[in-house]
């Protein structure tokens, strides 16, 4: 099912390019320029990371970015202001941990966070430490305010758990390409192909993430059946390089836009080869 028309549209017409950056990394204004660069580079959906102090699902690249952002003063309140000020065409999804959602605003439960997110133009949520079994209150709030709740499917997710998750998912599924935490890798795992095979029967867009860093990866993954690619660490690496090498905001934004074009082009090539293969069959 889908709550957000914008997210449904992002997957409706060819492969979706779904980049991720940590909001506020390394500071508020630069970060805004970086997210807008992703949009110019062809982003269909942008995952905005709201930093939590204990990010247990992240590898070192994103963890360090979260620390940079927190050190620069990022808070949930600032995050929503950031989302409101963005000038982008892509649909916005917030990725964060459950405690921040749970604590936000007055009153109990996740509803105030979702209400504020909806007002800020956020179309969906990804919450890596919230399994489907604990997600009912958040799912109800998302349904009320028209947000999608995206679940992550791991290579180890099978059987009843997978069915349960697929009953609850909306927008798209985040297919984790391999075990472990986030981080750019050179190889694209066999676990991806297996995961896509397991998900084939479910009627929901499948976006593959974890480890994608080049246009060639993107091409292979989309050719292998993915409806979208999620890229995080490779882009966060560009921001980290900018910090390490003291590059200008414009220079880093240009690099992010260029890498985005490469990834999007790769995804399109993969999509063409897949549709041609279907037509010639």
């Amino acid at each position: 099912m889908a709550n957000s028309e914008a997210i449904a549209a992002a997957f409706a017409d060819g492969p979706a390019y779904v980049p991720y950056l940590v909001v506020g990394d390394p500071d508020y204004e630069s970060s805004k320029a970086y997210v807008e660069a992703l949009d110019r580079g062809g982003a269909d959906v942008i995952e905005l990371g709201l930093p939590f102090s204990e990010p247990i699902a992240e590898g070192s690249t994103i963890q360090e970015a979260l620390v940079r952002s927190l050190d620069a003063g990022m808070t949930p309140t600032r995050f929503f202001e950031f989302a409101e000020e963005l000038d982008v065409d892509a649909a916005l999804v917030c990725m964060t941990y459950y405690n921040l959602i749970y604590q936000y605003g007055e009153g109990e439960g996740p509803r105030p966070f979702v209400e504020r997110a909806a007002a800020a133009g956020i179309q969906g949520l990804v919450v890596p430490d919230l399994p489907a079994e604990e997600a009912d209150p958040l799912r109800e709030a998302c349904d009320e305010f028209g947000l999608d709740l995206v679940f992550i499917v791991a290579p180890t997710t099978r059987g009843d758990r997978l069915d349960r998750m697929m009953e609850n998912v909306s927008g798209y599924v985040y297919v984790q390409a391999r075990l472990g935490t986030t981080g750019a890798r050179d190889d694209v795992s066999d676990q991806t192909t297996e995961s896509l095979d397991r998900l084939r029967e479910y009627d929901v867009p499948k976006a593959v993430g974890f480890g994608i860093s080049t246009g060639e990866h993107a091409e292979r993954i989309v050719a292998g059946g993915a409806d979208g690619i999620i890229v995080g660490s490779a882009l966060v690496d560009v921001v980290a390089e900018g910090v390490a090498e003291d590059l200008s905001t414009d220079e880093v934004a240009d690099r992010l836009e260029a890498l985005s074009r490469e990834l999007k082009e790769g995804a399109r090539r993969g999509y063409r080869s897949r549709t041609e293969a279907v037509e010639s069959a």
């Binding site: 247990i56 430490d129 604990e134 075990l179």
Partner: protein, 437 residues
């Protein structure tokens, strides 16, 4: 967890954990009222489901004689049972019967082996090939390293860099036992960062690796499983108390960080409503929090914390108004944790367990008092329970059991430094140790 339901069809066994009502709480679904649960990344879900199944079969049902072997190894390798000793001079001082449960005499010098041995043995029964663990004070790390060496399992321990510097002898002990010690440099380099880092390792290696969590924290089934391994403390203490004194104690006291010695000491007494249960937390330097700096200069999450989700469970936490986790503080690194076991959070809300905060100064006094009156040098964690006794003995009944969760050998350097920094009225002359510091 329907997998664990099979246990009701089998005969209870002598060595299996107790089935008193208080002990059944959380075993099926990991819920303690509103607390507990399984808030973990999807990649870890199959691992904790597999673990919940193994807990039901091997621990609760003694399948393949797991609990028999566990009890036997606790006796032969660990030195159980530990004594319940009357503390003569403290009894006189407080005009009440004070009994000490001597977990400091367990192999390794702390209660931690009960859980570490149980989990490493369970990992073996599950066919896992590698052990990982986090450690704060180094007590859980050393216990896990000992158990892993004893059971011939390769072992990696994650430890905050700051804790490594505070606890060098324990780092050496882990290495002596053949474990790899990996420093964690993120955050302030203490227990909560080490837990996060160990979870990351586990997310990559779940298929052949077991994560030996060190307290009654984390996702189900860890809180109930660790409690059931540690409950040997109260199973023994309850019987010993009845045997020695002819009845139940009026009060049971244990220090509380994550809460494993606390719950281990309370578990068999939870259903004995006449027994008051006191969880003594680290009050640190003050209970005030510095929200701007993200620092709570204490570790009193039961006493001062708010409900939230951390490291796989809903529980009471030290957090700011946004939900970011605070840096906790205590003179004892073993209590230095921003969360607490969900079962303790529940028992506090229910009014069954009373949380009390004892500050660094009172803990140091407690450390010196037990050392110079009873000839037992306690861990700085344990010392908080004796700080409590000094401050609150007038509110207690006529028969008090205090868990001596660990011995203080690991803390001697810290004790010299901390004693030197404050005016501890009952400390010996420290000048020969502190000159030139």
């Amino acid at each position: 967890m329907s997998e664990t339901d099979t246990r009701t069809t089998e005969e209870p066994n002598d060595t299996a954990p107790s089935r008193r009502p208080g002990r059944e709480r959380g075993r099926d679904d990991g819920k303690f009222g509103r607390y507990g649960g399984q808030y973990v990344p999807e990649a870890l879900m199959p691992a904790i489901e597999e673990l919940a199944d193994a807990y039901g079969r091997y621990v609760l049902n003694n399948e393949d004689g797991f609990m028999d072997e566990f009890r036997e190894r606790l006796a032969d390798f660990g030195g159980r049972p530990t004594p319940l000793q009357r503390a003569d001079r403290l009894s006189e001082r407080y005009d009440t019967e004070v009994y000490l449960k001597r977990e400091d005499l367990l192999h390794g010098g702390a209660h931690k082996l009960n859980n570490a041995l149980g989990q490493v043995l369970l990992a073996k029964y599950m066919g896992k090939e590698r052990i990982i663990a986090e450690t704060g004070a180094g007590q859980h790390g050393t216990a896990t390293a000992m158990a892993a060496a004893h059971l011939d399992m390769p072992c990696t321990i994650y430890m905050g860099e700051r804790d490594i510097n505070r606890q060098r002898p324990n780092v050496f002990r882990m290495k002596l036992n053949g474990s790899e010690v990996k420093p964690v440099t993120t955050g302030r380099g203490t227990l909560k960062e080490a837990i996060s880092e160990t979870m990351r390792d586990w997310a990559e290696t779940v298929e052949d690796t077991h994560y030996v969590i060190g307290s009654i924290v984390g996702p189900h089934p860890f809180p109930v499983m660790v409690r059931d391994f540690q409950a040997v403390i109260s199973e023994e203490a309850r019987e010993q108390a009845i045997e020695k004194t002819g009845g139940l104690p009026t009060d049971v006291v244990a220090c509380a960080g994550g809460g494993s010695n606390t719950m281990g000491t309370f578990a068999e007494f939870v259903d004995d409503e006449s027994v008051a249960l006191h969880a003594v937390e680290a009050g640190g330097s003050t209970l005030e929090v510095d929200e701007a700096a993200g620092v709570a200069p204490n570790s009193a999450s039961l006493y001062a914390g708010e409900e939230g989700v951390l490291h796989g469970a809903r529980t009471k936490l030290l957090q700011d108004s946004d939900g970011q986790i605070m840096e906790s503080h205590s003179v004892s690194s073993g209590l230095d944790y921003a969360g607490v076991g969900p079962e303790l959070a529940y028992l506090v809300d229910e009014g069954r367990v009373s949380p009390v905060a004892v500050d660094d100064d009172a803990a140091l006094e407690g450390f010196h008092r037990l050392s110079n009156t009873e000839g037992i040098i306690p861990a700085l964690e344990t010392a908080h329970a004796f700080g409590f006794l000094e401050e609150h003995h007038e509110e207690l009944g006529e028969r008090v059991v205090v868990n001596v969760s660990g011995r203080g050998d690991k803390d001697l350097d810290a004790a010299i430094e901390e004693t030197d920094q404050r005016d501890v009225p009952n400390a010996p002359d420290m000048s020969m140790f502190t000159e030139g510091m």
